[in-house]
Amino acid sequence: MMILRAAITAVLFFFGTTLWAEDVTLTSRDGSVEVSGNLLGYDGEFFRVDTEFGILTLDGSGVICTGPGCPNLTAYVAEFTLSGAPSMGAVLIPSLLESFAARNGFALRRVTQSDERFLYELSERATGKVSARIGFRLNSSDEGFADLIAEEADIALSLREVTAQEAAIARTGDLGDLTAPGRSRILALDALVPLTALSNPIKQIDMADLAAIFAGELTTWDDLGGAQEPIVLHLRDENSGLSQTFQNKVLAEYGKAGVAADITRHATNESLVDAVARDPFAIGMGSFSDIGNTVSLAVTGPCGFVTAATTTTIKTEDYPLTAPLFVYLPPRRLPRIAREFLHYIGSPAAQPVIRRAGFVDQFPAAIPFENQGARFANAIDRAGGEIDLSELQRLVRTLSGHSRLTVTYRFEGGSTELDAQSRSNVALLAEALERGVFDDRTLVFVGFSDGEGPASINRRISRTRARAVRDAVRAAAHTVDPARLTLRTEAFGEAMPMACDEVEWGRGVNRRVEVWLK
C-alpha cells in the first residue's frame, strides 16, 4: 500500500499539484474552533480544505492540523506546474528561474525527462533544503489553457489571449474569470516574422502577398519579383499559438478561408527556422526571438510604408504582428516562492535576462526626436489635402525637444478598448511614475488617428483617446504625488500616419496614443 501510494504520489508530482485528498482536522490554537474535511492543498502558508461548509482557506499559522492528510510542515516543498507554449518555457522561463535562484540564494537542479517534461528543483544554498519543485509541461498554448482549466497546471504559458470558449469553460469550473485583469500578465514581447533563407533576394513583403502565399493563391516567387520557382511554405503546428496568431492577424485580415494544401508543419521553432534556412525558395512564419540562420522580411502595405521587426518597433507596436507572451494565473494564491518569482519577472532586474534570451522587454525606452526623421519626412510627404503646413508645423513645434517613449497605446479593432499589450503598458507606465522615474519631467500623451473620415473629426477622436489614456495611467499610479508630475495631452489626428490606411491593419497601427517625454 505504501509503495503504491509512493508511486502514485511520484506520478502526481509530475502531473499536478493537488495533494492526495485525505481527512484532516484543523483546530484553532485555543481549541475553540474545529474544521474537518479533505485537504485540497497547502501552499506553505494557507490550508485549503473541502468541508461541509464548502471550500475554506485557513491561515496555517493559526491552526493545528491533525489527521492522516496533514502535510509535513517542516519539510514543506512548494510545488507548482507551468504548462503551455514551448517558446516561453524552453529557454526564457528557465533563464529567468536561473537568475531568480542566483539572486535569492537558491541552488538549482534541472531534472529532465525530455524537452517537453522537466522540472526545476530549488534548494537553499546554505542548508541544501529543497524549497520548491517547479514542473514544466510544454506542448502548446492550447494545452496550457486546457491544463489550467482542468487544474492540472497552476500557470498557463500562452502566445495568445484566452479565447471566449476557454473563458466560458473556466467560469463553469472553479477558475473564475480568466479575462479579468489580474489573471494574466505579459511576460515579454515577441513578434511574428516572415522568414527566408539568406540567399533569397526578397527583403520585404506586402502583407496582402503574405496572406495570398499561405492561402495558396500565389505559388511562385516571380509573382513577387523573384525567380520562377515554386514557393515552399513552412508553418508551425496548427495548435501552436504562433499559427493561431498568424491565422487571426494575417489570414483572417485578408479574408482567407484556409491555408494552402502543401505546407510543411513544424513542431518547434528551431525545426521551422532550420528548414527555411536551408532552402532558397522557402518562406516560413517564425518568431522574432529565434530566427536562427534565416533573415526576417520587413512588412509593407499598399501605400509604401515599410516596417521591419526590431526591438523598438515591437516595443512600440509599430510593427503590426507583435505577439506578447502571456502568463495566466489561477484564482487561488500560489506558494510564496511562486509569487516572488512572478514579482521578479516583472521587475527591472529581469529585463536584461529577457533581452539576452532574444525577446523584447516592455520597459519604457526613449527614442530621441533626432532619430525620428523618417517619420516626419513621411508626414511631410503625405501632407497637402486635409493636413496642411500649419498643422505640420504645430506637430514639429510641439514635439521638438521631446523624446518618444516606446510605450504606445493601441486599441482593439475599431473600439476604444485598449489591446492587451496596451493594457499592460498602462500598468507599466504607472509603475514607472510611482518609482519616480519621471519626476520633474513632462509627459505628453499625443493622440493620432487613421485617415478615414474628415481630419477635424479624427483630430477630435484622437484627443479623446489621448485624454482617456492619460486618465487611465494617472488612475493606475496610486502612490504618485500629483504635484510632481505633469501629464499633458495633445492631438494631431491623421497628421503622421505610420502604415497604410487602405488596409484595416494599417488603420489599426495608425490609431494610437504616443507618449512623449521632456
Binding site: V91, P94, S99, R110, D115, R278, D290, N293, R356
Partner: protein, 261 residues
C-alpha cells in the same frame, strides 16, 4: 726514533685516508644503483587555441586512477603502464588552474591564457558510463555535415584558430564504472565573420545498460546576465521499452547566438 714515529703516523694517516676513500667510494657505489623516485609530477604547457597540455606522471603507480579538476569540471583518467598521462584540455578561465589527484597526492599547476576571451565555451559534465554527447550544428549545418560537431566528428583546435568553426574535447575514461566525464565545446566567437545560431543539443543512446537509469551532472554556459553559470542536471533516461532510441535534448544547453565581428 722520531723518524720511525713519523713514518708510522704517515702510514696510519694514509691508511685512514685510504679507508675513508674506500668508505666514501663504497657508499657512492651504493647510491649508483638508485632507489626509484616515486614523486608524482604535474606539468602544463600552453597550446594554441586556448588549450593546455597537462602531463601527469606517477612512476610508481602504473595504471593509477587520476582525478583531474579544472574550472568546475571533473574528469577521471587512468595512467598508462609507465604511470604517465597526457591530456589536452580547453582552458576554462583566463588564469587556468589544474589539479590532479594521483597516488594520494593533489598536484596543482597554473597557466595564464592570453587568448582566452577569443573563445566561448559550453561544458557538460556527468558521472557514470551513460555517454552524454554534445552536438553542435553550426550556422544551420545539417546532421552529419561539415558544421555538425560532436564526439565522432569533433573538429580541431586548428579549425577554431582559423575561425572556421568550433571543436569538442571529450575528457574522461569511459571504461571506468563510476568515473566522471565531460565534454567541452569551444567556439571562436571573437574571430568569426558569420552571424547566426549554433544549435546545441545533448544526445544519448538508450541501451540495455542505460535504460531507466538517471545521470547526474552539470552544465556550464552563459547565464541570464552573460556570465558563465553552472546548473546542476539530472537526466532521466527513458525506460527499457525505448532501447535503441536516441534521447535528444535540445533545451538542456542554450543555443549560441553569434553576431559577426
Amino acid at each position: 726514533m722520531v723518524g720511525n714515529l713519523k713514518r708510522t703516523c704517515a702510514k696510519v694517516v694514509s691508511a685512514l685516508v685510504m679507508a675513508l676513500v674506500v668508505l666514501v667510494g663504497a657508499s657512492h657505489f651504493a647510491n649508483a644503483a638508485p632507489a626509484p623516485d616515486c614523486t608524482p609530477r604535474l606539468t602544463s604547457a600552453l597550446m594554441p587555441g586556448a588549450m593546455v597540455r597537462l602531463s601527469a606522471t606517477a612512476p610508481c603507480a602504473p595504471g593509477a586512477l587520476v582525478k583531474l579538476r579544472h574550472g568546475g569540471v571533473l574528469f577521471d583518467m587512468v595512467a598508462d603502464a609507465a604511470g604517465r598521462l597526457d591530456v589536452d584540455i580547453p582552458a576554462l578561465s583566463e588564469i587556468a588552474v589544474f589539479e590532479a589527484e594521483i597516488s594520494g597526492q593533489t598536484l596543482r599547476t597554473t597557466v595564464a591564457i592570453p587568448d582566452f576571451d577569443t573563445y566561448q565555451r559550453i561544458t557538460l559534465q556527468w558521472q557514470g558510463q551513460t555517454g552524454l554527447q554534445i552536438h553542435a550544428r553550426e550556422f544551420g549545418a545539417t546532421h552529419g555535415s561539415d558544421g555538425h560537431i560532436w564526439v565522432d566528428a569533433p573538429g580541431t583546435a586548428q579549425r577554431a584558430i582559423r575561425a572556421r568553426g568550433g571543436f569538442i574535447t571529450r575528457l574522461g575514461d569511459d571504461t571506468l564504472q563510476d568515473g566522471h566525464s565531460a565534454e567541452i565545446y569551444v567556439f571562436p566567437t571573437e574571430m568569426t565573420l558569420r552571424t547566426g545560431t549554433i544549435r546545441l543539443s545533448v544526445q544519448t543512446m538508450v541501451d540495455a545498460y542505460t535504460c531507466g537509469t538517471t545521470v547526474h551532472g552539470h552544465a556550464m554556459q552563459p547565464g541570464g546576465d552573460g556570465k558563465m553559470a553552472q546548473t546542476a542536471l539530472t537526466v532521466e533516461i527513458p525506460a527499457c521499452d525505448a532501447i535503441g532510441d536516441i534521447l535528444v535534448l535540445n533545451n538542456l544547453l542554450r543555443d549560441m547566438k553569434i553576431a559577426a565581428n
